[in-house]
Point group: C2
Chain length 348, copies 2
């Protein structure tokens, strides 16, 4: 069953101009809501656009001006927290002429850089990089090429704006909550990080630092107990197995991410331990599945929607004012208490 006619030639700005009896400049101006077109002309042009079903080619636009496209990169499509951020971006973009295009920027730095470059090659007007792992130098290179907002990365930044949730406080909230329930042997499973810059900038490292600080602050410094694995289900399983082998074993586990907590649950189930009866468990991210009835995980909510809309606001602002000073927005997380944490009395 062969295709029918040849793919119809696209309607161009020239067709619209001819149809409306004006110049292409005029059409271009109307398209961009630019200065210098009479109301009368605007009407004529708009109706010609309507009648012909004209749509501007982003490729052609990109060669001279803007593409009205902003690129968003994120490391993982399975973490629902990122979906919240994207919702925020979408909401902030609603009513503007901008469209968002996404790409996943795998885990390793090389693949990530490739994705960022691909965005630049495609003439994005601006970039929102969610939880990038690349070096500061790399991020600055990207930001030199195109207006950029980095989400979920702490520390000073020179060429780009940042939006991040306060992971230090978030971790403190968890420890405080567990300590208030009477727990002392509160262990933490973190994402292994060795790079010194990332130790200062990546959310996982900040959470770990927040845990340590809060433990000290509650006079629980001697009970600090950290397993370094990875932010994944496997990482959680592995970390929990090791923690359960301790004697005495912890009475509470603070997993650095909800997905890690899922791995912890695997290990606890396997060991025949109940939550929170035998051990309390908290996660981080307030992902969708944390709320499911059989899981009901105590966790930290990061207000992803707000993060996304704030990042977008900053980006659009920077596109308009390329050399305003860079801004660093820090948002506050909130503890969400559910059924995986309980008083120590109940434990045993």
């Amino acid at each position: 069953m062969p295709r029918g006619s040849a793919p119809a030639r696209r309607v161009t700005i020239v067709d619209v101009a001819r149809h409306a009896g004006v110049s292409t400049t005029a059409v271009s101006k109307v398209l961009r809501n630019a200065y210098g077109a009479s109301p009368d002309m605007r009407i004529k042009v708009r109706s010609a656009i309507e009648e012909l079903g004209y749509r501007p080619s982003a490729a052609a636009r990109g060669m001279r001006g803007q593409t009205y496209t902003i690129g968003v990169t994120l490391p993982d499509f399975r973490n629902p927290f990122f979906a919240d951020i994207l919702d925020g971006v979408t909401a902030a973009l609603d009513g503007t002429d901008y469209v968002q295009m996404l790409a996943r920027c795998c885990n390793d730095e090389v693949a990530e850089a490739r994705v960022h470059d691909a965005m630049i090659d495609r003439s994005m007007d601006g970039l929102i990089l969610i939880a990038p792992t690349g070096s500061r130098k790399h991020l600055e290179r990207i930001a030199r090429a195109v207006p950029t907002v980095v989400v979920g990365r702490h520390g000073e930044a020179t060429g780009y704006d940042t939006v991040a949730d306060d992971d230090f406080t978030g971790a403190e909230l968890v420890v405080e909550h567990l300590a208030a329930l009477g727990h002392q042997r509160i262990a933490h499973i973190e994402h292994l990080e060795t790079n010194p810059v990332r130790l200062r900038e990546m959310p996982n490292a900040i959470r770990s630092a927040g845990y340590r600080h809060a433990m000290q602050a509650h006079d629980l410094g001697t009970f600090i107990d950290i397993e370094s694995t990875s932010y994944s289900r496997e990482g959680g399983y592995l970390g929990a197995r090791r923690l359960l082998a301790r004697d005495p074993r912890p009475t509470a586990i603070f997993a650095g991410a909800d997905i890690v907590a899922m791995g912890v649950l695997d290990a606890l189930t396997e060991a025949g331990l109940s939550v929170p009866g035998d051990i309390s468990l908290a996660g981080y991210d307030n992902t969708m599945f944390a709320a499911f009835a059989p899981i009901s995980l105590t966790t930290v909510d990061q207000a992803g929607h707000h993060i996304g809309s704030e990042a977008t606001r900053l980006l659009l602002d920077r596109i308009a004012h390329r050399d305003r000073p860079t801004a660093q927005v820090k948002l506050s997380p909130a503890l969400v208490t559910r059924r995986t944490t309980a008083p120590i009395d109940a434990t045993v």
Copy 2:
């Protein structure tokens, strides 16, 4: 803190040509691996590209030839099943010059059409539309403009290739499994669908039909019991509430999607019923959370990875051969038995 120097001018094909001492045509040919460039020239050009750090502009390419970008649209970033499909796309694209860009095509048809048009405006070389809700006519219009593969949509198609999992069989697998466990009052929660075309094409409708057919085939026709809500957690909760009000109530519930099963679990927890002790539960999609220890949901695996790679293969093939006949690939689902389904005997 103002930005430093002006954004450096991009390296162009002209720079590369000059640096290598050849024509721009030659560079272009090397870039596209086109015929008509000596090995010697290829080497010269490639090293010039390397030295200058040249990267082709997709916008400029898009005006004459390809952009090496394929667009993927999907309705929802929260359904982890789609992430599996995307992984398949990524894997199939690995090693090619193509890059994928994603966009969410909201729920309603108008917004969806806007997203599809946005993809075309941005000169995508091809489109993979995952579970689109638009009319056949709309899909055909898109496919006329650009090579298109539609994923997760049944029925005949004229201008585009399709890849879909056999939802009819998948639903039958679930019913067979439950019937073999001795269940008779097997209820189903479906996504409400009234549009006649969608009743023939959308996976949710096909699953429902498969359920009905399998019930008949097992002489359980009189026990057919369907609640029409939506494929969402709320839909599952609502449907389950209604089903639990029946007298007698079903001994098993087949939720049309895993996320629906989560809502069912909410309702069951609320009602103080245990799974599978009081009632068996099965989902569909084998999403990530179905495997979590506290959930351990019996479900149907759709081989999302395979779906994605197959769709990509078809798309690249169609980009190369625009008028080969359209293909319709149907993949087979598999039942994944976990701990939410048990023999009726165990169900008091």
